[in-house]
Structure formats: C-alpha cells, structure tokens
Symmetry: D2
Subunit: 446 residues, 4 copies
C-alpha cells in the first residue's frame, strides 16, 4: 500500500451495509461456536468474552489523562448487527445440527437461537481427501477439475452476496489442517499459480482454490489453519494486484498462546531454557485430523518455530542456544473439544541453577478461537475499507505463524503483537504512539 492511499482519521468512515462472513468449514466446531456466539450476543444472551474489538480499550495520550475509550468506539468497525454468515462444508448439517454435534456450547445456549442456526445451510465444499486423510464427507462439489472448482466458488460468493443483500465480504478459513506442503514452483507467482490450477497440479490444495476465488472476487482471505494457502508469493502478488488484505496463519489458541505468554516472560528476565516439552490432548475432529502424521507435520512446524523467534538464540546463546523443544498432539476422545495442554519447562537461572515450570491448561479450543474469528473479520474488513491491502502483519496477535514481509522476521511475542496492533490503531486515528516511557512524569519535581 502507499501511505497517501491509506485513509486515516476522519477519512475513515463508518461502514455501511451488511458484511458477509464466508467460512470454509462452516459446520465445524470453531465456526458454529463463532456464529452461535455472535447471535447470542446480538440477542443479549451472552457476552463476547475474549474479543478485543468488542471489549478491548485503548489508552490514548498520557497516563494521567485517563483517555481510554473502547476500541469499537475509537475506530469505525462493522457492528455485530451487520454480519451475515454463510460458507461451505463437507457435511450437510445445518448450523444447529452442526453446533449440537460439536458439543462445545450447551443446550442452554443453543436452544434459544435454534431458529437462527437452522438457517445456516452449508454450500457443497471443494474437498480432496489426499489433503485431509482422516475425514470423509459427502457434501462436496463434483469432479476434480480445479479451475471448475474455482469458478463454482466464485459463483457461490456472488450468489451469496446477492441473495443476502450483502455489501462487502470477508472469507475466513475455519476448515481442517491440510497435509504439509512446501512453497514450490507453482506457488512462486500469480502466473505460475494460474497455470498450475489449469493443469490440476497436485500441489494446489483445496484451501488455495478458496483463496483464489476470494481474491478474484475482491474478498479478503483470513487463514485460521496452519495450511500454506496464501502464505506464498503468488497470493501476496495477487492480493496487491487486487488491492485485497490477506491474513494468517493458524489461530493462536491453547498451548501456543500460553507459550507466547510465558516465553517472553522468561526472556524478559533473562532466564535460560534447557528444555520445553509440550503435550496436547484433544478429542474433537481437529484431534482426529492431527492424528494423521502428515497433517500433524503442518501443525508441528507452526508450533515449533514460535520459541525460536521469541527467544532469539542468536542474541542470547548462553541462554537459548541448545534448548530441547518437543511438541506432541494426541487424540484423546474423553476430552472432547476441551483441549488440554501440559507443558514441562526446564529453565535455569543465576549461575545455571535449574528450575521447573509445569503448566496444565484445561482450555476449550473453539471457545478460544471464536472471538479471534470475530476480531479478524472486523479488522480485516476495516483494512479493506481504508486501503490496507496485502499482508496484515499488524494482526500477528491472532496467529501462531504470522505472515510477514520477506526479509522481516515474524513477531511471536504476544505483548509486542498487542502493542503493534494498538499502535497501528493509534496511528490510523492520528493519536500518539504509546512507548511506556515514564521519566517525564518524574521530571521537574525538584
């Protein structure tokens, strides 16, 4: 983007019309928790806990000015009332059936909005079992011609907009983790990508077809899985051409969230790391998919690099050069959607003396992911409206593997990510950057 094309301050107008939220994997646990939750909030039945856009505040100016508006009162975002949901799934269950199957939300929360949820009917999905081995669905688009799939998806998008009177759309991938792919020749440029689609190249994953359909329709794409998808030069180029935002990848929830909280804490205090063992147990469909070792490889890479970037062993060799990092995920049905992560962290302090931290995080996967979906949809729509296209690095806060410009390292530290996000908002609205420098309060008091 160019600065002069970026709208700022009073140029940023309140959004008008409806915002379509298009979700590949619309019948999954995360999607249904997200959708049902938005509706419950709209009806005043629950609160959007975990959502920065809805509950977060932003400090402006000096500490003693006490100017701390809510983020949504500070910068014009789409309102919950204007969201319209749709999407694709390999199972044809409607939103109520799918949410009931997911067993994340209680009957007490689902029943009052049953009427609404039943209106969410998934469109047939583009699916290829080579990419997700442990699942099988029958609500899929026929044939194996990739270009035909892209065109069908684009028609789906157009029809959805028309049928729902939708003004703008955002696509957010809440589907499964695909098998591990590396960026290769067909991913190097828009031209190569288009050629590969035409050639039904096996290195083109279904998620890439969704992204292509989105970008060609002028719709931003958010990648909630660790899939490669838009994290390739071809899509970065296409996003710039079409002036559309892209964001990803892999929602940062559960154990990795915890890791990006704790690791910055250890590093702040210059405590050394000898080893970090992480095990996860979960019993939902995500756990089943990750029981396939090819899908796990995709996830594992996303999970392992986090520490490396936060701890900067090249700067702190005596602290972080040789730590042993191991991550395992186990399918464990008794846990259901209630993922549990156990971390065993071996650190060392003064003179090298060892200490240990054990963290048992009994979390809920979809409960943690749902508010991220909401925030990402609203912030990405904002970006689209004001002309911030391409990689949205300021949204790193939400991702396990934040996309970033080539030549820059990704930022994984949750606290730096939050500061980056908020200072970006301050910049957009013409407010001073916050630095937490505080010496000025203490000057001139002699």
């Amino acid at each position: 983007m160019e600065e002069r094309q970026l709208k700022r301050k009073e140029q940023i107008e309140p959004p008008k019309g409806k915002l379509g939220v298009l979700i590949p994997g619309v019948g999954g646990a995360v999607s249904t928790t997200f959708i049902a939750g938005v509706e419950a909030v709209r009806r005043g039945l629950a609160e959007p806990i975990g959502s920065l856009t809805q509950l977060g505040t932003i400090r402006l100016g000096k500490r003693d000015e006490y100017r701390i508006p809510r983020i949504k009162d500070f910068i014009p975002l789409a309102s919950l009332e204007d969201l319209v949901f749709g999407g694709w799934d390999i199972y044809d269950a409607n939103g109520y059936e799918a949410a009931s199957f997911a067993k994340v939300l209680h009957r007490d929360h689902l029943d009052p909005i049953k009427d609404f949820l039943e209106t969410i009917q998934p469109m047939p999905a583009v699916f290829d079992r080579r990419f997700v081995k442990n699942l099988d669905g029958n609500h899929v688009k026929p044939g194996t011609n990739l270009r035909a799939h892209v065109e069908a998806l684009k028609e789906d998008i157009a029809r959805f907009k028309e049928e729902n009177g939708v003004d703008r759309c955002v696509m957010i991938w809440c589907g499964s983790t695909e098998v591990h792919l590396k960026a290769e020749e067909p991913h190097r440029s828009v031209e190569a990508l288009q050629k590969a689609v035409d050639a039904d190249d096996p290195r083109i994953a279904p998620s890439m077809l969704y992204a292509l359909a989105a970008l060609e329709s002028g719709v931003p794409y958010i990648n909630g899985a660790p899939n490669l998808t838009v994290d390739i030069p071809a899509f970065v180029e296409l996003a710039r051409e079409k002036r559309v935002p892209i964001a990803g990848k892999d929602f940062k929830t559960g154990q990795t969230l915890m890791k990006t909280i704790l690791a910055p804490g250890l590093k702040a205090r210059m405590l050394g790391l000898e080893g970090w063992y992480s095990t996860n147990i979960l019993g939902n469909r995500d756990g089943l998919v990750l029981d396939d070792k090819d899908s796990f490889k995709t996830k594992e890479e996303s999970k392992l690099s986090v520490l490396e970037y936060i701890l900067q062993p090249q700067l702190y060799p005596s602290l972080y050069k040789n730590y042993y990092h191991k991550v395992t995920i186990n399918y464990y049905p008794p846990r259901g959607d209630n993922k549990e992560g156990w971390d065993c962290i071996d650190i060392f302090g003064w003179l090298g003396y060892p200490m240990q931290i054990k963290v048992d995080f009994q979390c809920r996967d979809s409960i943690l992911a749902a508010p991220l979906c909401l925030d990402l949809v609203l912030f990405t729509d904002l970006a689209q409206r004001i002309g911030m296209h391409g990689i949205q690095e300021w949204l790193s806060f939400y991702f396990k593997s934040p996309m970033h410009k080539q030549g820059l390292y990704p930022e994984h530290d949750l606290f730096i990510q939050l500061m980056k996000l908020k200072n970006t908002l301050r910049y957009l609205m013409g407010e001073d950057q916050i630095t937490h420098f505080g010496l000025d309060y203490y000057m001139g008091d002699a």
Copy 2:
C-alpha cells in the same frame, strides 16, 4: 529531578573507582547467593544468568537495521570488577559459613571461592525483635536509642568506604520482612521522621534507620522486602533534598513474577477471571519469618494488589470485577530454599465458558533474586551518577510493589515494565523510542 540537570548521551561518563554494595541482611540466602555469584562470574566460573545488565540487549532503530547491542555496551555501568561487598547481619557468620548454611549454592560452587567469601564479615546489625518475631540473633548493636543506631550505621558506612577505598556506595536491603506498618504521622515529612527517631517512636522500623543512615550519607537505598521503609513521604522528600535515588519495593520473584507474566497475557486476550488461588511452600528462613502472621500481612498486601492493577476491573467490569484472589504462604521445610508455587486460575472465555490453568513453579528464591540485586545496584548507581534522584519508577520491572509518584498508579505488567526500562535507557542515550508500530515496513510497496 529537572531535565536540564539530567546527564544524557555523551554526558554520561563511564564510572570511575570502586562501588561499595552495602547490604542489611548480608548473611542471608539472597545476599550470599548474590555475592558468591558475582565472584564466581568474575573468576569465569559461572554465568550471571538472569541479569539484564549483564546479558540483556537493546534493540535500536528499525527492525531491519539489526542494531542490538548489549545493554552494558550501550550505557556506561559499573563493572563487576569494581564491586566491593559489605553489610550487616544479626548472625556473625562470615560469607562462606552463611552461604553454606543457606544451602542454595552447591559445595562445587562455594569451595573454589571460599577464600573470598570468608573475607565478608558482617557488621553488627540494628535489630528489634518486635519487627521480626520468628528470628533471634546475637550479632546486634547494643541499646535501643534509635538516633544512636542511625549514627552508628553512618559511621559503619564511612568506615567501610575508607577501609575499602570505595568511591560510591549503594545500599540494598536483603533482610527479613518486618511486621506490617502503615504510613502514619511520623512518616509524613522529614521533620516528623527525625522527631520520631529522636523520640524512639515504635513506628520507626529498623529498616528505616538503615535508610536514614544511607540517605544522610548520600547513599541510594534499594528496598528488596515489602517493608514500608522508604515508601513514605518523609523519605521521598529526603531523597529529593539529598539528590539520592530510592527504589522499591519487594523483589519480584517466584509466584508474583509468574503472575505478572500470566495476567497480562489473559488480559491481552480479554479472557475473564473468576478466581486465582495461589499457594506457596518454602522452607528457608524467609518461610519461617512469614509463618508469623504479622510479617505475612506485609507480604500479602504486596502480593495481592498486583492483579488489581494489571487487570483494571474499572475498565473491564464484565471480565475482572468479581474475581476471587487468595494467596497463602506455608512454611514447608522439605523444600528448603527451593520455593514452590502452585497457582490455580479459573478463567472464562467466549460467552462465559470456564477454563482452567494450573501452574506449578518449582523455583529457587535466591537464585531468582540474586540477579535482581545486581541489576538494581548497577542501575541505581547509574541513576545517582547522572542525576536521576528520588523514586526510580523505571525500575518497576524488579519489584512486587513498585514505588510510584502520588497520583499515578503503579505499573505491574512485566512487559510494560520492561518496555519502560528499555525506553528509558534509549531516552538517556538519545535513541528513538520503540513502539512496535510496523505499518511503515509495509507502505510504499505497491
């Protein structure tokens, strides 16, 4: 301080001569671990893990400039070679005996520096058992006349400087937690304080006599315990008058350190808090002292307020208004100095669904505290040399209950504290503040 009197950039000269480190409680576990560690590092036998001044780096300029010097190469600090240790204790054990008794460091680390440690002979302490009920020592100054005690301490300081050829001094309290005191009449002004000392007022704690002796000798005072000591108007006034820095209070180690890492993480993600139960077990002398409920009260206050300030319930009533926070400390001899903290944290997310975090931190009290002592001594000496007197809020990073200017709230978030510290250093050396704003990297790339 006034800005024009503050030395900055090239005005900040490398320190010359020796720096005396005067420690009330010099024979305790923290002190001996600190002193023995510094000597071991000086002899190349170990590394000062945990010390920001020795191992920390500071990023300057833009992310892609890769200017990241070590802090100690960036701003002139006293070198470890120039530190000379002395202090007071209620037991007359020398440094080697005291360190052996503390059982923090192994024989393997103590034996090679036995010769050095044996030279650390404590001076007789000012002690009053009403303030520390579970200890009793016999290496104390005679009499109960407070003014006489202050004068004796000042003579100790002067003699120490002369005998050791010391140029500058810093006093750092590593003694026990005293019983709980509230700021009252005798603490309101320098005049009232001096009058109370003359009157042997029972509201004047021994630690205050040390602080008074320090400040009147032009020596900065660092408060490593939760004791009231310099956190009263009288000492703030005196510090300004004498142009001496004061810092405190209560070294942030163990469970509270963990709390100020985790709580900002929960808040970053707008996750609600229903309850936080913290239990500590430790078996060292500190544990014994805190088994007295009056001393515990002092500690408890220091520990409880942390969450309140980080979570800001006034801004986030739906998330943090009604959480239940409980902290207990238990004397448990099998653990020795190896403190263990167990946290049971009840949080809630999207639509109010509950989740749990359990943290078991098997840490070592003195190992965590020793590098804080080192950093605080070096940074406070820096402050003294360049004219930053009074409360050192920029050192909040190191304390459970950071001292702060009246009318400002204390900053407890470890990550904001670190940013504050580093941006202060950047300011002092004339470098730009870091804001983590990153949009500029992405502009102009169309």
Copy 3:
C-alpha cells in the same frame, strides 16, 4: 456382640418392609445428591457409580473357580426401592430447592425427579451456633433445653416411622462440621452423658442429641462428619446396651481418599517420606464452615492422623520418622462443590535420593460422598438386622477417622480396609477368607 448371637449364612434373611433414612442436614449438598441419586437410579435414569453395595463384586473360592457374584446378590441387603428419606435442616427449603441451591446436580438430572424431591420437607433442626459459627438458619427447634430437644427428636423419629409406614430406620449425619471437642467427663459413661444433657452442659454438641435420640429409639447412627459425637465411651456403652450399631467418622472423600491410596503404595515399596503438603480449595457451604478455625481444627485432626497410622514410623524410623505433614483448606467460591486438592509429596528412594509426586485431584465432594451414604445405610441396616451392634470397624473403608475398639489402632489403608470389609462379608456368609496366597496354583506341576 457375641458370636452365637450373630446371625450367619442362611440365618440372614432378606429384609422386609421399608427402611427409613433419617438425615440431620437433609438439605445439604451431600444429602440432596444422595437422595436425588437414589431416586434417579430407581427410575432408571442414572447409575449408582461409586457404590460398592450396588456395583461391587466379591470373589469367592480359588482364582480359577471364577465365582464372583455381585455383593448385593451375595448377602441380603435392603433394596433401593425400600428406602424412604427424611431428616432435619436449619433451612426450610424442600429437597428440590435445596438440591438446586447446592448446584451439584445439573438441571437435566433434577428436573425429571422434581416431583419426588419436593416431597422431602425437612423437620426443624436442633441447632446451636456456638458449634457451627459460619452458618445461621431459622428452621430450628425453639428453646435451649437439651433434654427437650432430645425428646422432640425422638418424637420426630416416631412420627416419621408411623407416617411413612417404615419398618426400620438408620440415622446418618450429613450436617456440618462442629467446632472441636475433646472427650471429657460428660462423655465418659451413659450416666455422665445423661446427667450432662439434663444440666445443659456446653460440652454436649447438637450432634450428640441426635445420636442420643437415635440410639434411644433403637436406630443405628452413622457419623459422616469429623464431629466427636458417638466416638466417646458413653455412646459405645449405650450402643451395646441398646444393641444398636454405630459407625464413623467423617466420610473419606477427596484428598484424604487419595492419601490413603497413595501412602500404602509408597509404604509397599519402602519409599521414604520427607514431606507431604496438601491444600484444598472448595467453595460450598462446607468450605465456608471450615473457614472458621475451630471447625477446621476438628477436620484437621481427622485429616492429619491418616498418614501416621498408615506409615507406622515406629516400625520404619529411617523412612517415616521425620516427615513434615501440612494440610490446609481454603474457601474458594469459584470452585463451588467441585473441591480441588493439590498434594505435593516429597519422597526419597535408594540411598536417600529425593523424588516428587504432585497430585491435582479435581473432584466433587458430594458426588464422592453420596454413594458412601448409600453403602453405609445398607450395611449398617444389615448389621442391625443380624445382631452386629456397637462399633462397626469393618466399615472403616468409608471413614477418614475410623472408630475402633480401645487398645486397637485404627486401620487407614484403603486396601486393607476393603479386604477387611469383604472378608467380613465372606465370614458372614460362610465362605473362605481370601489371602491372595497363590503358591498352591504352582504346586504339584512337576
């Protein structure tokens, strides 16, 4: 009892008629969970998990005979169909209201049996706030005359039997923990006790009045709390005179249950113990009562002695002489009835090398206690029917502080307790004792 008076084998007839279950504290969490559960099981809506009488089996004869009947098919016990519930409470809520307030069972379990639960109307309780400081109720019998209270309770019992057509009764205390009492003069004999009741002696707790009313009515008394109550010579004497069983004390659930599982394991393997730190958090009414330090003292004694008896330091001084044992209970409302216990156990093995065990038990107080109530009621009724009066040591399995004959030590090891219980049943039915001796299987195979 005398052996010739004890009915055995075919003398043990199936019970006839209804069995009244009389519960002081009938509106509490344990009672309502017990009562609602029995009804749910009767209606086929749930299973009596945790109940030895309902689900347990008993191996008879040799391992290769495979004779393993259910306990309830082996020895004639009252059936669930024949139980009739009643009791006293200081709050006048009916069974449905009380169960809803307790928040142990979900609406899904309570609603289908609402009609039944509403029929449980508590009789006004005998209550004295000096014995339970943190509670206050208004559904109490008037006056403070102890003898009058006993008579009123006896009338309640008689009326209950008549109104409900009940054949036999058992009283089981599910009320609160009273303040700590020691066995003193008024507890030494039946005569002294009766005199003390007449004199309104303050050492006579309300629970003793219930027990007196029960025994004088020929009704067995089971003590589910750590209260002294029947664990005094006076009641042992009275039980013998009246030929009525008594059993107690303090239901073994949660952390103490875990302790009597783990400690026998450590001892089996001759692993030494250096320390055992136990902390409990719970948020129900029980937690509130135990926040009063006098009530906690009663509980603490019950909890602490367990290890001492299991580990036998007098036999194993090198292993168990000097361990440090600490138990704390904390009121922590977020946990509700879902008690959580955390144990930190410091053990040592071969040559004294230290190891650690941490156990986090996220249990549910009433869920663990309810099946104990059921078993105790049925087994105590059996004892009554066949002439086993006085202390029921064979039921030690269910109690934190098993009552026992003077001169014998109590048995705390859960596995020995279970063996004792089952071998008692085998004895009663004329089957061989099981010894787990197995050499015979291997003999004669040459």
Copy 4:
C-alpha cells in the same frame, strides 16, 4: 514344584558361601546404581531405601500380638556381605566410569567407593543391533553363531564362579529393551528352542541366549526388561527340568508403579474410568532406546495391559468397559535419568459425574529400580535354595508384566501383589495367613 519337595520352616537354612550376581547390561544406569548402592550400604554410607528385604517388616498373628519382625530376620536370606557382582556390557567402561556416565548418583556417593567400582569389569556382551536399534557398542563377542555365544556365556559363568569363589549365582537382566517379539514356533518347547539356536533363527533374541546359558548352568534368571526372553513355554519347561526359578518381566517403576497404586484405589471405590492418558519423558539411554518404535512396542504392551487386568471390565462393564488408554514415551534429554511421568485421568462417580486426577511423578528411574534388583536377587536365591523352581508368581510385586501360569490371569494390583508375597513368606515359615478380617476383636464383648 511339589509341596513335599519344598523346604519349609526349620528346613530353610541360612545360606552359606557367596552369591554371584550376574548382570547382562552391567554398565547401565540401573546396574551401576544397584551395585554402587549395595557397596555404599555395606560400608555404612547409605541406606537401602526401597528394599523390602532390607527394611520391610511382616506382621505375624493377631493385630494385638505386635509380632512384627523384619523380613530379613524372619526368613533366611543371603546377606549383602555375600554378594559378588559381575556381568556383561557392550561398552567396556568399568563400574566407576559407567556409574559416572549414568549421572544417577552424585560424586559424593561414588567417590568414596571408587576403588570398589573400578573392580567391576564387564565381560564382552552378546549383542545384535537388529534387536536394539538405537545403540551401538564395541565390547561384544565376535561372530554371529548363536550356539557359540551360548557356550561362551556358560564359560563366562563358570569362570566367574571359580575366580570369585562363588557358591551360587543369580542372573538378572538389566540390559535394554529389545524389539517386539511374539511367541512363535521356536519358542514352544525346549527342543524347538535348541533347534532354533542351532539354526541361528532370527527369532532368538540375545536375551534368550543369556537365559539359556543361565538355566543350563543351573542359574536362576530374572528378567528386568519387557523382553519376551523366558516368558515362553520353552523356558518354563527348561526351568522345571533344571529345577531353576525364573522371574519376570519388566521392573515396575515410575508411571506404571503409580498406575498400579491408583487404579486399585479407583476400583476399590467403584469409580468409573473414561480415559487415562500417560506421557513419560526421560533422557537416559533407556529413553533413547525407546525412541525406536519397535522397542517402544515391546514396552507399550507391557504398560497397557496393566489397567485391563486391574479394572476387570468384564466384571464392571458400566465402569470400565470403554475407557481410552494412551501411553507415550518421549526422549527428552534435559530430564536425564530423572524420568517424569504425567498422568491425566478422567474418572466418573455417582450418576456419572466426571472428575479428574492429574499426577506428575518426578521420579528417578534407576533409583526406583535398584532396590527391586536387590530384592529379586535375594528372593530368587531363596527360591532356588528351598526348591521353588519355575515361574515365581509370588514376586509379581516387582514386575510390570508378571509371568504367570497358563490359564491364570496375572495379578497387577500392587496391594494384592504385596499380600501375595508376604503370605507366601508366612506360609513358608509356617505362620498363619493374614486376612485382615477383624470381627473377632469385636466379638464376645457384650
């Protein structure tokens, strides 16, 4: 064995002469910890914590007789003074070097017995890398002729006896876990086994050659690993022929020990099990070996079956039919020999309500195994001396997968195992079996 051939009571004479302890894997962590420990105990430098033979007592007669001798004073066992150690290893390090490498015992424990440990020189081992893929040693017997290996081992045994003036021997396998083998044709009979050895059959593991050499030399064989080895009909037959005891398999330490403590506790209380997830991290050579999935399969089978036998789902379908059991082992170098096991146990109680138990066992593999070696050597020698040959089921207490007679199920419950062991000792010495029946104490007191 036949009863009339079994020596009992006064026929059991105190052992005379020296007892040779022959260890395949003599240079491993378990072996060196065992050997060094015995020597340290002999010199009065440490205590044999964890050893039932050395510290255990045995109750005789009634509870109020207080006859509770030490086991070693009750039944004549070889004394520690009479043990002589030898063995084989694929590395040629002597006992001191090997123990130092293992890093289990501190320098403080090894240095005072360095002279002794250096005398332990391993004989060259029989090794075949196809059976232990992640190790490689060079101190091995040449060639691949299996019969030649057996003969070489027999010569080693004979020479060891002669050179050390040893009267009797016991062989105890402390080597690595071999890849998974199933009992097949060559394992069906002595004849088939001998034929397979002659034919260099690849289904004959190295451990079987050791066992063959031992039994043919009249030396009992104890199997400390999960290897198949003597747990096949061929060796059971051979042991009977040669009248030699065999015992196995897989020392029960760490997480499985914990499991056989906890599972009987859950079952005692009829608490249901929904899932049990166990993860292990360890960094020693054992961890490295088990990182090979074929070796892990051998271990996994040994670990998984434990629950099945204890919980008896066929008897308790509503409690134990459908639990999900998962065991993982991870090589994690920071932990060294200090194995750590984390168990996440999902149970359910009354009406099916779920509860959770988490156990973190920070143990030390070799410290737990060493006393088992000692006990097994002494008890197996006892068995040999008194004519108890073949499978020693009474020693099930020590094994993860206790060997048992065909047609009988193995006993995994630690408490039943201990009872079995002690009642066997009582039987041998002519004492009454203990049943924990206690009603007799309460009879006749009317």
